[in-house]
């Protein structure tokens, strides 16, 4: 059994007071406890940015803090080297939807068995508030051209995930602990590529997407009676970029995952498998004239 004490942070948290990431960290800890998977079988992977520091604030869990935009390929390698592990990725909108968008789409297409948690706040926080690919059109920051602000529409991680082939796609909100924990547990347990777009305010830089804004502009998809197996309905909801954000599970289906198509050993982890030199000798001898 995993206890809160086991997960105590190994080092002091450096996020700003009131940061949306605190809610995600709290939910993650609760989810890990609720999952009840042996702790040594968990692996947290992250990219770069405030989101990605999360794994230094949860103790006792294997983790790997990787490169900007690249946590998903690293996590893919970890997962396939040992499919007994439960691999999840923490990434930000700046991380996952800019440099990482190609990897994100391809991992969804491959239906890699992992859960990806996007800490989405519409800004590149750690580099001091530039607009991220998730910032709304017209968002003003130091690097968006004045006067119109960001002269482009944001990436919709939900729509990208659904069209690319992810099999579990949901949106959570850092301010809704109960709902977020539930989504996280479901995402981790899901066999396939699971994405949660987690709305979270950057209290320092983003004056638009605030706690108040999210509280007022989110609504529960479940309460509206949404069919999670209908891809087009899910996409329609994902494209709702207007005044109100649906929260909850958009899409949840089963499809063969990547590992089922890779030459992994029938028993045990790939990392523990040893090629028999006799087989190699036979391959060489068969090449002999």
């Amino acid at each position: 059994m995993i206890t809160p004490e086991m997960l105590e942070e190994p080092q002091k948290i450096t996020w700003c007071t009131g940061c949306g990431n605190f809610g995600i960290l709290a939910a993650l800890k609760k989810a890990v406890i609720e999952l009840d998977t042996p702790i040594h079988e968990l692996v947290l992977t992250s990219g770069i940015g405030c989101s990605s520091k999360i794994l230094h604030y949860i103790g006792g869990v294997n983790s790997i803090h990787t490169l900007h935009g690249r946590p998903i390929p690293f996590a893919t390698g970890i997962h396939l080297a040992n499919t007994d592990l439960e691999v999840f990725v923490h990434t930000g909108d700046g991380d996952c939807l800019a440099e990482g968008l190609g990897h994100f789409v391809h991992a969804a297409r491959r239906n890699v068995n992992m859960a990806v948690f996007i800490h989405n706040n519409g800004v590149n926080g750690l580099t001091k508030g530039q607009f991220s690919p998730a910032a709304p059109r017209g968002y003003i920051s130091k690097t968006s051209p004045p006067p119109p602000g960001a002269p482009m529409d944001p990436v919709s991680p939900m729509a990208q995930a659904i069209t690319a082939g992810a099999t579990f796609v949901a949106r959570g909100f850092s301010g809704d602990q109960k709902g977020l924990v539930k989504l996280m547990v479901q995402a981790i347990r899901h066999k396939g590529f699971a994405v949660i777009d987690i709305l979270q305010p950057c209290v320092t830089w983003n004056r638009q997407l605030t706690w108040k804004y999210y509280n007022e502009h989110t609504y529960s998809l479940e309460e509206k009676g949404h069919d999670v197996t209908d891809k087009f309905k899910a996409l329609e909801k994902a494209m709702e970029n207007g005044d109100r954000y649906p929260v909850g599970i958009f899409y949840n289906v089963e499809r063969p995952d990547l590992a089922s198509g890779i030459a992994l050993p029938e028993k045990g982890a790939l990392k523990d498998h040893t090629t028999d030199l006799k087989d190699v000798q036979k391959i060489i001898d068969d090449l002999m004239l």
């Binding site: 042996p38 390698g77 080297a81």
Partner: protein, 572 residues
């Protein structure tokens, strides 16, 4: 006997098939072969050739002069005319419209005979073989025997058909071909070679990797590296090797490092352009001390360059790629035998020192074919390096500071241990820090590995006389051309030898200093324009070569080319 055959034609015409057959015939008959592939970056058409050198003595390079050309297209009839030796022959199908006939030309009914005698146009290969054998007066019974061995698996009918077609062309050539070839091998018996493993450098690397227990490969196709990836994927089902063709090379190396962090021996294959994309992840791998093997089959750059041709111009790029300072090992195997050996050493040293190991091949090594002795894998050692003691250890630290800089590895999934790594500067437990003292300690930790790395690398080798007035300084695949040039010049009485590096980085300098002190002239011979290895030598030792010989047209060096460069430079 030292004959070179050139089979030329358009891509897709079956040059390789004829080439493979010729190679197999001569290998089976006991000869040494060395084959190069010269092809354009296109799927169909153009002018490509396979050039097979055959000798009764060991050979290590391709040569410029060709003795027999088999031309499958008009381009090929004229393409190598200038390289044809005196008394050489150009055989081509009579269907090719070519009117400027000289004594060396032999229009032969290759296709017609294949169809009429063999009943199968694919037996054109045997027809070409028959013609070739006839012009060099090679004993036909030897060929017959060899064809039976080669096609034996396909059944008697195929053997009989091929033999009949070859014989028909053989006889026809004997009676119709009025020119003469300088070779008359009528009395030739089986050659002395028992080397029956026909391999490219790439294939040898792939075999080395599987023998070394590679369990993960993630790559993106890029000439001339791709066949390593393809071969390993081919074996993956049988041997259980995880593999993915990734969306790009960034992902390739990231996945491989992820798999390595989780405990699987991992590699990527690419060429310079792909490696350019891997550079950030290379430094990441070094930072988290994840063993990984990177194969770069070099081709001429910059940018797309010449995708199917050869160069050695990524040496300095690879030696210094990625920001920051960290140890790495670089190998440049000279031939398929060494490529196999380098592959197994690479995985062991990557694990032992928990660093990236890079193998630099090039198109010449990648695609050239040699027949070598059977590789016996029973001697292959697998050393996974320092591992943490099994069992729970709440104090386990993945990046523990140690005297030799190497921290025992554990993997996620090991019960009772937490394995944490980060690309940021980190503490011993893997969690990030900005502490000045820890930063310095971690950098020193990396560098503390270097003395032991140096001790594990092989020193360079002298080929030829131990001491000589002139020393050719070489690395990687140009070894063979330089080796034969040295042999040839030494036989003329020139005081010349060769100092060759396979383990190119970090640089072992003891032998270098000895040679520089002793030789009157040290000549850098490199397949690039700036003598990158010589630059590395100067940077690390202050020693400067006397002259440079550089080739950078994308075509491989030959012994004759090196000799004429030495002559033109007034060196010999």
């Amino acid at each position: 006997m030292d004959i070179t055959f050139n089979i030329g034609g358009a891509a897709g015409q079956g040059i390789d098939t004829i080439g493979d057959l010729l190679t197999q015939v001569f290998v089976q008959a006991g000869f040494y072969t060395f084959t190069i592939k010269d092809f354009e970056s296109r799927i169909r058409g153009g002018y490509n050739f396979t050039q097979i050198r055959v000798s009764d003595k060991p050979i290590y390079a391709s040569v410029d002069e060709v003795d027999v050309i088999i031309a499958l297209s008009k381009d090929a009839v004229v393409g190598k005319r200038d390289n044809l030796s005196e008394g050489g022959v150009i055989i081509f199908d009579e269907g090719i419209e070519f009117d400027d006939l000289e004594a060396c030309h032999f229009p032969a009914p290759l296709e017609k005979t294949a169809r009429e005698v063999g009943g199968n146009i694919r037996m054109m290969n045997a027809a070409a073989l028959g013609a070739v054998i006839a012009v060099i007066n090679f004993p036909f019974d030897l060929v017959e025997q060899v064809l039976a061995d080669i096609f034996g698996r396909k059944g008697e009918k195929i053997v009989a058909g091929n033999v009949a077609v070859a014989k028909a062309l053989y006889d026809l050539t004997k009676s119709d071909f009025t020119g003469t070839c300088k070779y008359n091998l009528e009395t030739l018996e089986k050659g002395p070679s028992n080397d029956k493993l026909i391999l490219t450098g790439n294939k040898a690397l792939a075999l080395g990797a599987i023998a070394a227990n590679v369990k993960w490969i993630s790559s993106y196709p890029m000439s001339p590296s791709t066949s390593v990836f393809e071969d390993i994927v081919t074996y993956s089902h049988q041997l259980k090797i995880g593999s993915i063709q990734t969306e790009d090379e960034i992902s390739s190396l990231a996945m491989a490092i992820g798999a390595s962090y989780a405990g699987a021996r991992s590699m990527v294959t690419t060429s310079g352009g792909g490696f350019s994309l891997m550079v950030e992840a290379l430094g990441y791998g070094a930072m988290i001390e994840a063993p990984v093997v990177i194969y770069n089959a070099q081709r001429p750059g910059p940018s797309t360059g010449l995708p199917t041709r050869t160069e050695q111009a990524d040496l300095l790029f690879m030696a210094f790629s990625s920001q920051g300072e960290f140890p790495r090992i670089m190998f440049a195997p000279k031939d398929p035998i060494e490529a196999f050996d380098v592959a197994t050493r690479s995985f062991n040293l990557a694990d032992k020192f928990q660093i990236p190991v890079m193998v630099l091949g090039d198109q010449y090594l990648a695609d050239s074919v040699m027949n070598i002795p059977r590789i016996d894998v029973s001697g292959v050692k697998r050393d996974v390096g320092k591992l943490a003691k099994p069992g729970p250890d709440p104090d386990y630290k993945r990046h523990l500071l140690t005297d030799d800089g190497i921290s025992p590895r554990a993997f996620p999934g090991d019960k009772g241990k937490t394995v944490v790594s980060a690309g940021n500067v980190h503490r011993e437990d893997g969690h990030i820090t900005e502490d000045a003292e820890m930063r310095a300690l971690m950098v020193q930790k990396f560098m503390n590995k270097i003395p032991a790395i140096m001790a594990d690398l092989n020193p360079p080798k002298i080929y030829g006389e131990e001491k000589a007035d002139i020393t050719l300084l070489t690395w990687g695949s140009t070894w063979g051309a330089a080796y034969e040039a040295v042999q040839s010049l030494a036989s003329r009485g020139v005081s010349i030898n060769q100092l060759h590096f396979c383990d190119v980085y970090p640089l072992r300098t003891v032998k270098l200093r000895e040679v520089f002190a002793q030789a009157k002239q040290v000549i850098a011979v490199e397949q690039n324009i700036t003598s990158q290895f010589a630059q590395l030598v100067r940077m690390q030792t202050g020693l400067e070569v006397t002259q440079h010989i550089n080739k950078y047209d994308g075509r491989p060096m030959t012994p004759q080319w090196i000799i004429s460069e030495l002559e033109e430079g007034g060196i010999v």
